[in-house]
């Protein structure tokens, strides 16, 4: 039963992400991306990573998609001849994609057991209970440096957006 659902959500994710690339209309691509994010979130839930699932919905399906839509509205997509530019190397892209897909498939189809399938998280999740709690405990003690670095990266992102977007407009 569980495996059936897992298969279902992964199939949805794969098909939707294929549609993202193949969609004719760019807004359709964005909507398919929402579907991809949502089914990935479901997969995260099934793997016991509820916090990641929440991030996936809140940040990706929420904020990032809004950012995408704004970015699409910023440029007049219809004026651009997308086909001429992006479809020029279509054959090559397909070929390379197939090669990489085959490589990945070969690696993952080989019979292997995970050498060591338990990270620190999985062990302590059983010990301490919820997924968010484990992440919290590790993030705010051992992983304090990556946590604070994340805020600096966000700061740079804000500065970058303001530098590139705001003053340009003042001049125009």
């Amino acid at each position: 039963m569980i495996h059936l659902f897992f298969l279902m959500f992964s199939l949805i994710a794969v098909i939707a992400s294929w549609r993202v690339v193949a969609a004719k209309h760019i807004i359709h691509a964005v909507l398919w991306l929402v579907v991809t994010f949502f089914s990935t979130a479901c997969l995260f839930v099934m793997l016991g990573a509820e916090f990641l699932a929440a991030i996936q919905i809140l940040v990706y399906a929420g904020a990032i998609i809004i950012l995408y839509v704004f970015a699409i509205m910023l440029v007049n997509v219809k004026d651009l001849d997308i086909k001429a530019h992006f479809h020029k190397h279509r054959r090559l892209a397909k070929l390379l994609g197939l090669v990489i897909f085959a490589e990945l498939g070969l690696v993952f189809l080989q019979r292997f057991t995970f050498l060591q399938a338990k990270g620190p998280l999985a062990v302590q999740q059983a010990e301490w209970g919820g997924n968010s709690e484990v992440i919290g405990r590790l993030l705010y003690t051992d992983y304090i440096l990556p946590f604070e670095l994340a805020s600096i990266i966000l700061l740079v992102a804000i500065i970058g957006a303001v530098v590139l977007a705001i003053t340009q407009e003042k001049r125009a």
């Binding site: 490589e103 990945l104 070969l106 690696v107 993952f108 080989q110 292997f112 995970f114 050498l115 060591q116 399938a117 338990k118 990270g119 003690t141 051992d142 992983y143 304090i144 440096l145 990556p146 670095l149 994340a150 600096i152 990266i153 740079v156 992102a157 500065i159 970058g160 530098v163 590139l164 003053t167 340009q168």
Partner: protein
């Protein structure tokens, strides 16, 4: 597991150089906000002062090696070496920027803050001991660099370069993350030293998924270090970005990327050395050959420097291949190469800045015609840099190349050395082409030197070190050897 204030303060003390950088950024941004009409040149001097202060603080390190922040970072000689190198690169960039940003009307507080942000990211990268903090440092550096590349907003080329840089760095960080997740999936660790310990405890480390993870890591860092097939962005970015930013990009991310690569392949997956040495030897061959052959037909000096930079990465990869069998010799040659590369590769960018004025950028080889008549000194300085890049005997470039070839000879990579020597001969041609243009051709009207004190100081430092390292390389080789003694 018990992480408390005492431990935290001890850890922060170990990264006090990084803290100085952060505080400088905060000061710059606050001054930028509080005095929007004020003179931004003051901010440039503050950022330079912050870099120098951080370098001084870094030098007070007592030599005790330890891992801090629960293994997220490591303070060791190797990181110390690269930190000093990064501070040098940043300080040279800032010195070259002071006048240039005024010239191009981009003298804004953000510019100076972003250079420091990019430096901060690289500092985290070189001392990162787990893949997570390395990744975050890389991202910090990539975002800051991307905004810096796009800083000439009215310029189409700058925008194009920024877009290419942005898309490719996102793409590469996606690949890198996938590689990290595969390595984590196999070993269950993200800490480099723990991965090494885990792998050395296994009888059979030849695991297809680990190989795939390693390949993806090499691809991901390939975009940073810019070896062929992941070099596409380099020429466009060097051509479009503000020149001082191009100088910064030509070394900073490369040095940091090499530091991370060395730490990963020499520590974490050293057990897979047969696999990665084959991979790197192939990459080395295509990188130097393609870089040199494409550089031959460039008319734009910035694009020429881009392709020559790619070729130089190829030589460095050769040292990395040799390191599989002779770690000491191989890695010493690689990081010595990087160290002297700092001075003679940023140098030509400084000369290009020297020759540009408000209306015109002299970036074509034709623009350098007869420079020796207009300004014998700058032509002489440029010649020193170019001869070093070409690796002509009395110069340090020769010593660096010689060390690399020697390491490869010792590792019995004769075919690789042969290709390397042929490539050096090809490279001679396009470097000397510029020298010929400067000394033999008749001068063009309108070529003017636009010297400023800060740029002169930067050029003097670079020339001084290029000559000093050529005369007395043993000192610097000794430093390189000292800094890797505890890594391997």
């Amino acid at each position: 597991m018990q992480y408390n204030f005492v431990v935290l303060l001890g850890d922060i003390k170990q990264i006090s150089a990084e803290m100085v950088i952060i505080l400088t950024i905060v000061v710059i941004m606050l001054m930028d906000i509080l005095a929007p009409r004020g003179d931004k040149t003051l901010l440039a001097y503050i950022s330079l002062g912050g870099t120098l202060l951080a370098a001084l603080v870094c030098c007070t390190w007592n030599g005790v090696e330890q891992s801090i922040f629960s293994g997220a970072l490591v303070v060791d000689r190797f990181a110390f070496f690269f930190k000093l190198m990064l501070f040098t690169i940043t300080a040279l960039t800032q010195l070259m920027s002071i006048n240039y940003v005024k010239l191009r009307n981009i003298n804004r507080g953000e510019f100076h803050a972003l250079v420091l942000f990019a430096t901060l990211g690289m500092l985290i990268m070189v001392s990162g001991a787990d893949l997570l903090s390395i990744y975050l440092g890389l991202e910090l550096n990539a975002i800051a660099c991307c905004v810096l590349v796009a800083f000439l907003r009215q310029n189409v080329k700058s925008n194009e370069a920024a877009l290419k840089y942005f898309v490719l760095s996102l793409f590469s960080s996606g690949i890198l993350l996938y590689g990290i997740s595969l390595v984590y999936g196999v070993t269950g660790e993200i800490n480099i030293y723990k991965i090494a310990r885990y792998l050395s405890g296994q009888q059979n480390v030849s695991h297809p998924m680990l190989h795939l993870g390693l390949v993806l890591l090499v691809v991901g860092f390939g975009f940073k270090v810019a070896y062929v097939p992941f070099h596409m962005w380099v020429p466009d970015v060097y051509e479009g970005a503000p020149i001082s930013v191009a100088a910064f990009l030509s070394l900073g991310p490369k040095a940091a990327g090499f530091a991370v690569l060395v730490r990963i392949v020499m520590v974490a997956v050293f057990t897979l050395k047969v696999e990665w040495s084959i991979l790197f030897s192939l990459l080395a061959v295509v990188t130097m050959t393609l870089g040199n052959l494409t550089a031959l037909c460039q008319e734009n000096i910035r694009r020429l420097l881009a392709y020559s930079g790619i070729a130089h990465v190829g030589y460095m990869l050769m040292g990395l291949v040799a390191a599989a069998n002779y770690p000491q010799l191989g890695i010493t040659s690689v990081i010595f190469y990087l160290l002297c590369y700092v001075f003679f590769n940023i140098g030509p960018f400084g000369i290009i800045i020297l020759l540009c004025n408000k209306h015109k950028i002299c970036e074509f080889i034709g623009d350098f015609d007869g420079l020796s008549v207009r300004s014998p000194l700058s032509a002489f300085v440029m010649t020193i840099f170019l001869l070093s890049l070409a690796g002509i005997p009395p110069m340090v470039g020769f010593v660096a190349k010689f060390l690399i070839f020697m390491a490869a000879m010792k590792a019995e990579l004769y075919w690789l050395v042969a290709i390397g020597i042929i490539n050096s001969a090809i490279a001679m041609f396009y470097y000397l082409r510029i020298v010929v243009a400067m000394y033999v051709r008749a001068p063009k009207p309108g070529l003017k030197i636009n010297a400023s004190p800060s740029l002169t100081i930067a050029l003097a430092i670079m020339v001084g070190f290029t000559l000093l390292m050529g005369i007395y390389p043993a000192l610097f080789i000794g430093f390189a050897r000292y800094s890797i003694a505890t890594l391997l």
